[in-house]
């Protein structure tokens, strides 16, 4: 009788426990993130594409780590530097990670920007969500019709610029590597301002993402003249890549910048991040990228995905650091040219 009573109690307890556990079950295995909140810093505008990618990924990272929530926090400012500085000093316990344009950070550091307090090579890279080719465009009515025209210009190529972002530095490297005289005019406010400036002829051209130029290229307001990518873009097979026109002795510089741009929209954590957390997050980000539901949502929202795993990105950063040391004088000269 006594045994029966105890058995009944244990049975009831098990039932209660299993009932309590059911909601917590699912695809995540028991791990260090169970029921915790991960903070995902996005050092960009809340309305920008970077934040939209972060918000797309956040619930799926939570799903595959078992975290209660992945909270997206925007820490905008200083071209992404402010939020990244914030991550640099966070506890490496894996509870705070970031998502932004990795090349912007590397280039800001290489240029010797006074605002940078981090070493981009020391971050722990967790995976890439997407990357897309950059393209050099000129105004539709501009006398310049090709990259050869830029190279034979008997005046500087005028670039209206918003300031020292990745396109500013990339264009400076390209000008040095391809061999044309560049005049960067800073002070423009936003893409609309720089876009209209080249359409009306105040400036010659600019560097931007392929997706951004599509409507203007289709309308004849802009003309693509160079692709900053490993191969020609299928939409515009006549537009050469930077590697095709670069001087032989400067090929390494262009390869370094293409490698850097390939890291584009990436997740990373503070230096010396907890190895268990690193492994769990890398796995979760890879699984999230492969999730058909996330992919469908990305497509629905016009967010192109081109994922890459954390280990690959970590190896890439080592290569970039080695190759990009030679870029420092060019980047510094670009900064000096606007002072």
């Amino acid at each position: 009788m006594k045994t029966t009573w105890k058995t009944a109690l244990a049975g009831a307890l098990a039932l209660v426990l299993s009932a309590v556990m059911v909601p917590f079950g699912g695809e995540a295995t028991a791990g260090m993130y169970d029921g915790k909140v991960i903070t995902l810093i996005v050092p960009n505008s809340p309305s920008g594409r970077m934040t939209r990618y972060a918000r797309l990924y956040a619930p799926y990272i939570a799903k595959y780590t078992g975290a209660k929530e992945v909270r997206v926090v925007n820490k905008k400012g200083g071209g992404g530097v402010k939020g990244t500085n914030f991550l640099w000093v966070q506890e490496p316990d894996g509870m705070t990670i970031a998502f932004t344009s990795v090349p912007t950070l590397i280039l800001a550091q290489l240029s010797g920007s006074e605002a940078v307090q981090f070493d981009a090579t020391k971050f722990v890279y967790l995976g890439r969500a997407a990357t897309e080719p950059r393209v050099m465009v000129v105004g539709g009515n501009n006398e310049i019709k090709s990259i050869q025209d830029v190279m034979s210009l008997n005046r500087p190529f005028i670039n209206p610029s918003q300031g020292t972002d990745e396109d500013f530095y990339t264009l400076a490297i390209l000008a040095d590597a391809i061999g044309f005289d560049l005049k960067i005019v800073t002070g423009y406010e936003g893409q609309a301002d720089t876009g209209v400036a080249i359409i009306k002829g105040d400036g010659d051209g600019l560097l931007t993402s392929w997706a951004y130029t599509i409507p203007m290229v289709e309308a004849g307001d802009m003309r693509p003249i160079l692709t900053i990518w490993e191969e020609r873009h299928t939409d515009y097979p006549d537009v050469p890549t930077a590697l095709e026109v670069v001087k032989a002795e400067k090929k390494d510089a262009v390869e370094a910048i293409i490698n850097m741009l390939a890291m584009h929209r990436g997740f990373f954590g503070p230096p010396n991040m907890d190895p268990t957390a690193t492994a769990e997050l890398r796995k979760a980000i890879s699984m999230a990228s492969a999730d058909p539901e996330l992919q469908a949502k990305g497509k629905e929202q016009g967010l192109i995905l081109l994922p890459s795993d954390g280990e690959t990105e970590q190896k890439r950063i080592v290569q970039i650091t080695k190759a990009s040391q030679g870029l420092k004088p060019v980047l510094k000269a670009a900064l000096d040219s606007i002072k």
Binding site: S47, K82, G190, A192, G195, K200, Q301, I338, K339
Partner: protein, 501 residues
């Protein structure tokens, strides 16, 4: 074209689109009332929920929320001197004095009606202007934007009552504050003293919260009572008086709306400049400019009409070139792309009905906001009568939460408190806070455009570009006009009194 206009309206006449617009408007009003959060945040937070519905419903939700935040931001500016967003700044100059005088309902009514009329007129002006928008955008450039900013500076004289020198000092302090942070031209940190927080400069909404709202609460704490003047015991006017005011000043509304459309159309000029420019033209064209700053209803009508009309103008860079004119338009651009619509000039031919659907949304969402606004205004107008013991902690809490919400930095709360102290001292010693803010808003615009003009067009750009020169002459004329009027009035007074003082 008529077919597209009707087609655009028909797209919106579905239960889903109407419901989504209503949800967007109510949500936008709530977000707008909270200082620090504006239309961009409202749209960005809504975007993930907008997919998978009718095209018109999706646009109605997003644009409806954005439109409603405009009036939401005006409410706190008028009632508590807390501008909900940078673009509502100019509303506090006369809106708050009206509240103090017991005319809060009237100010809110005028504000809502002006925003509605501005939205409608803006959409009409825009529809008419579509063929000329592109050439005008290509015609005007940084030198002309510079002249617009200089014109905005002329308003400093209006707020320099008593001492022009004090007015200029306040404006110069504003300019210096605007220079804190990363120099937009040379990427050099200025006045940051090694602080990473200051690299991004002093947030304009945070400075405004401190300068006006926190300072006002400090003043109220010292004074006691309520924010209403001592002799005001009840509301002296109604919401309908405000509606009538806005309709009576139809010419001012029309002018301000036109200004709003074009400020929205031109990339590189923010809506906060628009509100100040609207205020400037209201003062400069008034026969009694001395009433401004003391509760002139025109000072509420002009900025609200401009900001209301500005939204339609902001669509234009997106439609004419496929370039988002601002962050809010970047969100709309994303929405278009997901709908499979390529933004740009081809939209005018392939999806003209969608273009007009957006214009209808601006009109209808403005109408809905105004109806709700007029309905709740009498209740909102009672809030300023609250005693200081309740009001001060309540408003200060909202202010500091708003300051934090702006960028998510605790340092912004400290900045708001510091600016509160600065505002209190300025008020006590008769230095115009409005001038400080005008200096802050226009400094960066002047700096950017002066630099670009000099680099691209040379040192003599003023004389080599006829439009720039014409605008410069106009700036000089409008600056001199009030001084000339004062001088003539002085002479007339002297003549009528036979030269006696």
């Amino acid at each position: 074209m008529l077919e597209a206009i009707v087609g655009g309206l028909t797209m919106l006449l579905t239960p889903q689109a109407v419901l989504f617009m209503f949800i967007g408007v109510v949500y936008g009003l709530m977000v707008g009332i909270l200082p620090g959060l504006g239309g961009i945040v409202a749209m960005a937070l809504l975007l993930p929920f907008a997919y998978g519905y009718e095209t018109a419903a999706m646009l109605a939700l997003l644009l409806g929320a954005h439109i409603a935040t405009i009036w939401g931001s005006s409410v706190t500016g008028i009632l508590f001197k807390v501008p909900g967003a940078a673009k509502s700044l100019a509303l506090i100059f006369d809106g708050y004095p009206l509240t103090q005088q017991g005319h809060a309902s009237r100010a809110l009514g005028a504000s809502a009606t002006a925003a509605l009329l501005g939205g409608i007129l803006g959409a009409i002006f825009l529809a008419i202007s579509i063929p000329i928008v592109r050439p005008v955008m290509l015609f005007l450039g940084p030198p002309e934007y510079l002249m617009m900013a200089l014109w905005g500076l002329t308003i400093i004289a209006t707020f320099s009552e008593g001492s022009l020198l004090k007015g200029l000092v306040a404006a110069c302090i504003g300019v210096l504050i605007a220079f804190i942070g990363m120099d937009p031209v040379t990427a050099t940190p200025r006045f940051t003293f090694g602080s990473i927080f200051l690299l991004d400069g002093v947030s304009f909404p945070v400075a405004m919260i401190g300068l006006f709202a926190v300072a006002e609460m400090m003043k109220l704490y010292v004074k006691g009572g309520s924010i209403l003047d001592r002799d005001v015991t009840e509301e002296r006017s109604t919401v309908l008086d405000g509606v009538r005011d806005a309709i009576r000043h139809w010419w001012l509304v029309a002018r301000s709306s036109l200004l709003g459309v074009w400020i929205g159309v031109l990339p590189g000029i923010g809506a906060s400049v628009g509100g100040i420019a609207a205020y400037a033209q209201a003062v400069q064209t008034s026969k009694t400019p001395e009433r401004f700053g003391h509760g002139a209803i025109e000072g509420v009508i002009a900025p609200d009409a401009t900001v209301g009309a500005n939204e339609g103008g902001g669509l234009m860079p997106t439609l004419a070139f496929g370039i988002p004119g601002g962050e809010s338009m970047a969100i709309l651009l994303i929405a278009f792309v997901t709908m499979g619509v390529t933004p740009g000039p081809q939209m005018m031919t392939n999806h003209l009905d969608l273009v007009f659907a957006m214009m209808w949304i601006i009109v209808l969402a403005n109408g809905m906001t105004t109806l709700i606004g007029l309905g709740i205004s009498p209740y909102l107008a009672r809030l300023p009568a609250m005693n200081a013991n309740i009001m001060v902690p309540l408003v200060l809490s909202v202010c500091f939460i708003g300051a934090f919400a702006t960028r998510g930095d605790i340092e912004d709360v400290i900045v708001a408190a510091i600016f509160g102290g600065i505002g209190y001292i300025m008020e006590k010693y008769n230095y115009s806070r409005a001038n400080l803010v005008i200096g802050m808003v226009l400094a960066e615009m002047i700096e950017r455009n002066l630099h670009i003009s000099l680099t691209l067009h040379g040192d003599w750009f003023l004389f080599t570009r006829p439009i720039t020169l014409t605008m410069f002459i106009f700036v000089i004329f409008t600056t001199a006009l009030p001084f000339y009027r004062n001088w003539r009035r002085g002479r007339m007074v002297a003549a009528s009194t036979g030269g006696r003082p």
